[in-house]
C-alpha cells in the first residue's frame, strides 16, 4: 500500500511539475479543433481565453470537461432565454451594450454575456434611481447631473454614512401630512437636519420671495421668523462653494405647508447619498484631451523668431545705407 501511495505521489508530482507537457494532455486535438470551429474560434483565441484564468488545454482531462468549463456558446435559443430573463428586446440589449462600447459579437459564451448584462443593468439602475428621485421632486436632468457632479467632487470621508444618518433622522417626518401639526421641538429638529444636510453637502442656499414675477432676496433668519408667506412663492437656489448654481426649487405656500416638503427633503438627501456612493464610477465621461500642441507651437515660435530676425536684418541694412 505504502509503495502504491508513493507511486501515486511521485506520479502526481511529476504531472504537476510538467503540467504543460503535451504527453499528459488528454484532450484530443482533432476533436478540439472541430469544436472550436463550430463556435467560430481559432486555437489562438482559445489559448488567450484560457490564459485569462491561468489555464492551458493541458489542465483538462477530457473534451467534455473543457466544454463544460468554457461555457455554453451563444445560440438562438439561450440568447432568447437571456432576453426573456432580463425582459429586454434584442434592440434594447444591443443599445445597452452599445452604451458601454460593446456588441453581442464580443461575447462567445452565454454565461459571460449574462454576467455583463447583469452588471450593466445594475449600473444603469443605480443611475436611474438617482435621476428618478430627483426628478420626482422637480429636478431637471441637467440639474440632477450638476448635483451628481457636485457630490462626486466632494472630498469628505464617510460622506455616505453621514448622509445615511440624516435620512434616518428624517424618517419620523415622512408620515406627517401637514406642517402645522408639528410641535416646536419637531420644527427645531427639522431645521437642524436641513442645516446639517447642507453643510455636509457643502451647498449654500439663497432664498427669494416671488411676487408677480419679482424676486426679493430674504435672509434665512428672516424667513424663519415669517409666519406666512402672504401668498408669495418661495424660491430656493442651491449654490456650490464656488458660487455656481446647482439647482433651484420654487415652492408655493400650500406645498410648503404640506408633508410634501419633508418627503422631498428626504429624497434629496437619499439621492445625494446614492450619488456619493457612486462617486468613484465613470458614467460615460468624455475622454481626456490627448492633443499635444507642443510640436506645432514650437514650430510657430521658431517662425516668429525667424520673422523677427528678418525684420531686424532688413532694418539694420537699411540703417547702414
Amino acid at each position: 500500500m505504502k509503495r502504491f501511495c508513493i507511486a501515486i505521489i511521485t506520479c502526481f508530482f511529476f504531472a504537476t511539475a510538467h503540467g504543460a507537457a503535451p504527453a499528459f494532455a488528454q484532450v484530443d486535438k482533432r476533436e478540439l479543433e472541430q469544436y472550436l470551429s463550430s463556435i467560430g474560434w481559432t486555437m489562438n483565441d482559445l489559448l488567450n481565453y484560457l490564459d485569462h484564468y491561468h489555464m492551458t488545454v493541458a489542465d483538462f482531462q477530457t473534451m467534455a470537461e473543457l466544454k463544460q468549463w468554457l461555457g455554453t456558446p451563444i445560440a438562438e435559443e439561450n440568447f432568447q432565454q437571456l432576453l426573456k430573463r432580463y425582459q429586454l428586446t434584442q434592440e434594447e440589449l444591443e443599445a445597452l451594450l452599445g452604451q458601454f462600447g460593446e456588441t453581442v459579437q464580443d461575447y462567445t459564451f452565454i454565461e459571460d454575456l449574462d454576467a455583463a448584462v447583469a452588471f450593466y443593468l445594475r449600473h444603469n439602475g443605480q443611475m436611474q434611481q438617482i435621476n428618478d428621485m430627483l426628478g420626482a421632486i422637480g429636478f431637471t436632468e441637467k440639474e440632477a447631473n450638476r448635483l451628481f457632479e457636485h457630490v462626486a467632487a466632494l472630498h469628505r470621508q464617510n460622506l455616505p454614512q453621514q448622509l445615511e444618518a440624516l435620512t434616518s433622522r428624517m424618517k419620523p417626518f415622512l408620515q406627517v401630512e401637514d406642517a402645522v401639526l408639528l410641535t416646536k421641538q419637531q420644527q427645531q429638529q427639522l431645521l437642524s437636519i436641513w442645516e446639517d444636510a447642507l453643510s455636509v453637502l457643502q451647498i449654500k442656499p439663497k432664498f427669494y420671495l416671488l411676487e408677480n414675477g419679482k424676486k426679493q432676496e430674504v435672509s434665512y433668519r428672516r424667513l424663519l421668523s415669517l409666519h406666512t408667506l402672504g401668498g408669495r412663492d418661495l424660491l430656493i437656489e442651491l449654490y456650490n462653494q464656488k458660487g455656481e448654481l446647482l439647482s433651484d426649487v420654487q415652492l408655493s405656500e400650500e406645498i410648503l405647508a404640506s408633508g410634501y416638503v419633508f418627503r422631498a427633503g428626504e429624497k434629496f438627501i437619499h439621492a445625494s447619498m446614492l450619488a456619493s456612493e457612486m462617486k468613484k464610477t465613470m458614467r460615460g465621461d468624455k475622454m481626456p484631451d490627448t492633443a499635444s500642441p507642443y510640436l506645432a507651437n514650437a514650430l510657430l515660435g521658431l517662425l516668429l523668431a525667424l520673422f523677427g530676425v528678418y525684420v531686424f536684418w532688413r532694418a539694420k541694412s537699411k540703417a547702414a545705407e
Binding site: 452599445g98 464580443d106 468613484k280 465613470m282 475622454m287 532694418a315
Partner: protein
C-alpha cells in the same frame, strides 16, 4: 517719421525674436519631456502568482494616489518600451508621461482602468499595437498583464469608452490619426483585459 519708425521696427523685431525663441524652447522642451519618457525595456519571463480573485481584493485596499503621483509604468513588450504612468490626465501629467484617469480603477481592480497619452510623444508608436498584443502595468509590487481584445477608433465626444466594466479592463486612449497636423478629432482606443498577475522578484 523715418528714424522713429525704424527704431520701433527694430524693437518689434527683437521682441518677436525673444518671444518666438522662448515659445520654441518651452514647447520643444515639453515635447522632449514626453518623447523622452519612453524608455527601452526588455521582457523577462516571470511566473504568474496565485489566483486572480485574491489579488483583486488586495489591490482594492491600496491607498488612493494623489494627482501627479507616479503610480506605475506601462510596459509594451511588442515595442520593447516602458512609459511612466502619472495619476491625473491634465496637461501637467500628460506632458511627462501617460495619464491615469483619476475616476477609473487602479491596476488590478475589478473595473476599467483608463490610461491616456499624447499621440505624438509617449504613444507615437501605439498604432502598431493591435488585438492579441500584451500590455503590462507595473506597480511597486506587481505586474498586471493585459491582452488587447478590441481596437476602436471613435470620435472625440464618444461616451462609450470611459465606462464601468464587469472585469478588470485596461483602456488606453490617444488621439487619432497619429500623423496629422493640427487637432486630431478622433481617438484611438485599445481595450485590454487582465490576463495574469505577476509578483515582482527583487
Amino acid at each position: 517719421m523715418g528714424e522713429r519708425w525704424e527704431t520701433y521696427k527694430m524693437r518689434g523685431a527683437v521682441l518677436c525674436m525673444a518671444a518666438g525663441l522662448i515659445t520654441a524652447v518651452w514647447n520643444g522642451y515639453s515635447y522632449w519631456l514626453g518623447y523622452n519618457a519612453v524608455k527601452p525595456w526588455k521582457e523577462e519571463r516571470k511566473t504568474p502568482i496565485a489566483s486572480q480573485a485574491a489579488d483583486w481584493q488586495t489591490a482594492g485596499t491600496a491607498a488612493k494616489p494623489k494627482i501627479g503621483d507616479q503610480i506605475g509604468t506601462l510596459l509594451i513588450p511588442k515595442l520593447g518600451i516602458s512609459i511612466p504612468i502619472y495619476h491625473g490626465t491634465e496637461m501637467q501629467q500628460l506632458r511627462k508621461g501617460i495619464g491615469h484617469y483619476p475616476k477609473s480603477a487602479l491596476p488590478g481592480e475589478t473595473n476599467n482602468m483608463v490610461l491616456s497619452g499624447h499621440r505624438d510623444t509617449v504613444f507615437w508608436q501605439l498604432g502598431q499595437i493591435g488585438i492579441g498584443d500584451k500590455l503590462i502595468v507595473e506597480t511597486a509590487a506587481k505586474q498586471f498583464v493585459y491582452r488587447v481584445k478590441k481596437v476602436r477608433i471613435v470620435g472625440e465626444n464618444n461616451r462609450t469608452v470611459l465606462v464601468e466594466k464587469p472585469r478588470p479592463t485596461l483602456t488606453v486612449t490617444t488621439c487619432y490619426p497619429f500623423r496629422f497636423i493640427g487637432k486630431a478629432k478622433q481617438r484611438y482606443v485599445l481595450v485590454a483585459q487582465l490576463v495574469s498577475t505577476i509578483k515582482k522578484t527583487g
